[in-house]
Amino acid sequence: MNPASGLPRTVDEALLRLQERPDTVALAGCTDWMVRDRLARADAPPVIDLLAIEELHGIEEIATPPSEAKRPAGADADPTTPPPLLRIGATTTFGEIRVDRRVVEGYPILAEVASQIGSRQIQNRATLGGNLVNASPAGDSLPVLLALAAEVEIASPDGRRRIPYDAFHLGYRETALGPGELLTAVLLPPPPPHQAFRKVGTRAAVAISKVMVAMAAHSRQGRWSSMRIAAGSVAPVPMRLRAAEKVCEGAPIDVETATEAAEAAWGEVEPIDDVRSTARYRRWALSRVVRRLLLEM
């Protein structure tokens, strides 16, 4: 079969197609793409469908490369075998992620966000990779990936590279994917013991986020460590709330810390007014939710 036509069945075939026409758009669930009606346009770019590529689909545990086998400070380290990473293929749907046992048990906030994206119908089509590449400031899974210190795997004709998600989403709908490159997987490091997530949407379902907060941390002797707090829909890209994280680091797990972190979060975001909400509300809700999640996590 001529790899330049038809349905690509391997990552290499897909990369070849992207090379031939650099404006080619790689599609999976199409839940964002179709809404924008791009296919109806006369100047619509060529597209390829990634759903037949087996390698892009599914969830598996993979061994941690030895160079990365160190655990975050403060964690209860197991000196013998390095814990595995969880690799989620780019075209894995949120419906699959929502019910996957390893996700539900190890990364409950990812399972939670997967169950809150759009509707069940959307979750059955929409993919994790699609959410990343679409790069909306309101992409629901993104703050969760940020809090979980996820990495993304990118394939290009030169081979594969892995970068932290922190370095992937560069600006409003802008990513680190170069021309001819394909997002192939998301990798999650071993699960942090404390996780929390909250989506504040426009209604209970089929809602776009006004504010999102995701956090993950370790703890030792009643104090927070390795705290990562991420927020969505309050900036052009999902952002770490570093001032709030700093407040928590090494601080006691109590109401005072939560309150202080909430105040820090208030001060470090500059949200905007738009059709869904107001800057004032976003800042207020973000701060209150940060406090609430720290109390409950």
Binding site: T202, A205, A207, V275, A285, R292
Partner: protein
């Protein structure tokens, strides 16, 4: 003729149910495209502008596309509603974003869009009227007044603290609401030998017919309008389809072939009518025990750019402005203000939800001021039989306001829950640093709805309904009532069968085709079951009586009767009704009977003074709504709604409950989420991801209790129910939020953003 047991209250399956659920029902957009062109509309992008030039650049358009502008209208360029100043196509000026400026048609949708893009319009922008303050400085589009007693003198006494009276003042706002019917506006027009045939999605085929006659200067015989399957309407297909029909007809004439226009969702949201935004100021005088003594209500509606149906919406609004309560002295002033926004139009409730939102919030304000709980305050003032409305109308024995109030309060366990939430709130300060993530509260409201047309509308129309025999010996109802999901095609045959002694499947109902059916009036105003249904029942009874009399003469036998579709004599069953009917037809007897609605002769209403009986009867609904407010995000989740609706008589219980549940949810949506956001006259949220309506996950658990206090009139004392459930719930939602977190919101929607603004202003001491 006795009523066969079981027809009324038996809730037979909806006649249109199976075909709609299976997809067999063909809506206008489902018709084959072959031979039909597609129409598209060129719309204003400015809220107010002069049209400097309008040009169709044929070189950029598909070769065979047609173009129509205001100059092509040879009759009257005006939409005939109450006046005709709303242009079919703007000619000199545009007055709202989305106003139709020109039309194009082409063989396919893609070509039509290309043709529309080839229309070049040059505008000179003008200052637009876009807010309440500015609109109120201009001449209103329409005004109404209702006075009773000596309101101003009493209010003055209350202001001075005289006579033991207390003055309570408040100001209330409600926003525009989009109907969001599932099926967008859709119409198909065709000219055949100078005769115009139009079909599509509409509530009122004769409104469309009259409007078309006006635009094209055509006689009654030259226009045929047929209502098709309708995917929802809620009032949104009362006025607007007439405009769309004129557009399709203009294009069909230019293209010399059938032309269909089906709006896409964005276009439908931008261009069509909305619920009137309202602004109400109330000054009231009350005794210390909460007894209402006087109220001045200034009720303003934003009518948008053109008059449309606004005067009648205003009229219903002011007639419901003090709710189902005794208020002996009133001074009510209603105005329709003009803004450069799309014309506001009919929407379930028709002004009554707006004015009763304000009134019910005001009742809560009075209670708060006097320290009287919401239930006790309402009990002290609620209308009972023998009381009078501000119009002077004497409430008859069927006034079920108190019954509805008590039932809802009891079933919803209102008082206990309300008091507990008040205590919890005072103790916990949920919006402070209190750690309760969720605060619960409960709200109560009571509202009423006048059944049928306002004032003497029904007397003027005396709506005719025809019932005829089909060749196979079944009855067929001919009327202009349309099925918009409310159940007319099921209930009307039920009523006719019940009155005639037939089984339900022996009664058919004809599609609303103006070539065949008489003008039984528009399908609006909660009048279809009550007015058209009662008239159909009389016609069916009359026709079967005639057949029975004929048979008695034939047989030389008296005392025949029809029951359960069987002809019975003194000695038992003689035969089957269908056979009898065929025999009657074969004998050349007249096959049809037309009767007219007979409104109660005692009903008098003075349209100048607004005194008398504006409606022959009223239905009542009280609700207890419980909410959970997230104390971190101020998101409100309605968790439970207990409604008690006094509807006179329940005819089809499943559909009646369906109306109450659907209306309740629509009202909760209006109260919490639905908001038309505009900036400089442009609508910001013209899509379903940004115009937020509740999903099933947002809906409260609903418990509906139906109460029957039949009125004296037909059918069997039933009163209208279609709009009633829209009237009260929004206020109960706000009351519940107040009970939960102490934010007393007097404007809706109660979005988290608005609640926060209100909370911050209150914390800064900016509140009275």
């Amino acid at each position: 003729m006795k009523h066969p047991p079981g027809i009324l209250g038996s809730s037979p399956l909806r006649r249109d149910g199976l075909e709609k659920v299976t997809g067999a029902a063909r809506y206008l957009d489902d018709l084959p495209a072959e031979g039909t062109w597609v129409g598209a509309t060129v719309r204003s992008r400015h809220p107010h502008a002069r049209i400097v030039s309008l040009r169709f650049d044929r070189t950029k358009a598909p070769a065979d596309a047609v173009f129509v502008h205001a100059g092509d209208i040879d009759g009257v360029n005006g939409l005939q509603i109450l006046d005709d100043r709303w242009p079919i196509l703007a000619s000199k000026e545009v007055h709202y974003v989305g106003e139709a400026v020109a039309l194009v048609a082409a063989p396919t949708a893609e070509d039509a869009l290309r043709a529309a893009a080839a229309v070049e319009v040059e505008y000179e922008q003008r200052p637009a009227v876009l807010d309440w303050e500015e609109a109120a400085r201009n001449e209103p589009l329409y005004e109404l007044a209702l006075d009773e007693g000596r309101c101003e003198a009493i209010l003055e006494a209350a202001a001075n603290g005289d006579d033991g009276l207390i003055l309570v003042e408040g100001e209330y706002f409600t926003g525009a609401q989009e109907h969001l019917y599932l099926e967008t506006q859709a119409m198909l027009a065709e000219w055949v030998d100078g005769r115009l045939a139009v079909t599509g999605s509409m509530q009122c085929p004769y409104y469309v017919k009259n409007a078309l006659q006006h635009v094209f200067s055509l006689g009654e015989d030259a226009v045929q309008v047929v209502g098709r399957y309708m995917g929802g309407a809620f009032g949104g297909k009362e006025d607007y389809p007439s405009l769309l029909a004129a557009h399709a007809a203009l294009l069909a004439r230019a293209a010399r072939r059938p032309v269909r226009i089906v709006y896409d969702r964005h276009e439908d949201i931008v261009a069509t009518t909305k619920r009137h935004p309202s602004h109400t100021r109330i000054r009231s005088a009350v005794k210390k025990d909460g007894t209402l003594v006087a109220a001045r209500v200034d009720f303003d509606l934003d009518g948008g750019a053109y008059l449309g149906l606004s005067p009648v919406v205003l009229s219903r609004g002011i007639l419901h402005a003090t709710g189902p309560y005794r208020v002996p002295n009133v001074r009510i002033r209603g105005r329709v203000l003009r803004t450069d926004t799309p014309p506001s139009g009919a929407f379930r409730g028709f002004g009554a939800p707006q004015s009763q939102f304000a009134w019910e919030r005001h009742m809560d304000r009075i209670g708060r001021r006097l320290g009287i709980d919401p239930l006790t305050l309402r009990r002290r003032n609620v209308l009972h039989p023998g009381d009078r409305l501000p119009t002077g109308q004497l409430m008859d024995a069927s006034c079920g306001a108190a019954a509805a109030l008590e039932e809802a309060a009891r079933r919803g366990d209102f008082l206990r829950r309300w008091k507990k939430a008040e205590e919890d709130r005072r103790r916990d300060e949920p919006l402070g640093r209190g750690n309760r993530p969720v605060a619960t509260g409960v709200g109560l409201s009571l509202a009423f709805h006048g059944a049928g047309f306002t004032g003497l509308g029904e007397h003027r129309m005396r709506s005719p309904v025809t019932v005829r025999l089909t060749a196979e010996g079944r009855l067929e109802i001919l009327c202009a009532a349309t099925e918009m999901g409310q159940g007319a095609v099921t209930v009307l045959p039920m009523l006719a069968a019940d009155a005639a002694g037939l089984r339900i499947d022996d009664v058919l109902i004809h599609e609303p085709d103006t070539d065949v059916v008489p003008d039984s009036g528009p399908t609006v105003a909660s009048r279809t079951t009550m007015v058209v249904g009662a008239t159909a029942a009389r016609a069916a009874h009359e026709l079967v009586q005639r057949i029975v009399q004929w048979k008695e003469e034939q047989m030389g036998e008296a005392a025949l009767r029809v029951e359960d579709s069987r002809l019975l004599g003194p000695g038992g069953e003689i035969g089957d009704f269908r056979e009898l009917a065929r025999e009657y037809l074969a004998a050349g007897q007249p096959d049809a009977v037309t009767v007219h609605n007979e409104p109660p002769p005692w009903q008098r209403f003075d349209e100048d003074s607004y005194h008398g009986s504006a409606y022959p009867t009223y239905s009542y609904q009280a609700q207890v709504i419980e909410v959970e407010v997230d104390t971190d995000t101020l998101q409100v989740r309605p968790t439970r709604a207990v409604a008690a609706a006094e509807v006179g008589k329940v005819l089809h219980e499943v559909q009646c409950r369906g109306q109450v549940e659907g209306g309740l949810l629509q009202a909760v949506g209006w109260a919490l989420w639905e908001e038309m956001k505009r900036k400089d006259g442009q609508l910001l949220n013209d899509r379903m991801t940004t115009y937020i309506v509740p999903t099933f996950l947002d809906a409260p658990e609903m418990e509906v209790h139906l109460i029957e206090e039949p009125w004296e009139g037909p059918p069997h004392g039933a009163k209208g129910v279609g709009e009633l459930p829209m009237d009260g719930p929004a206020s109960a939602v706000c009351a519940a939020i107040e009970n939960a977190v102490g934010i007393a919101l007097d404007s809706i929607p109660a979005t988290p953003e608005r609640l926060l603004d209100h909370h911050i202003e209150a914390a800064q001491g900016g509140r009275r």
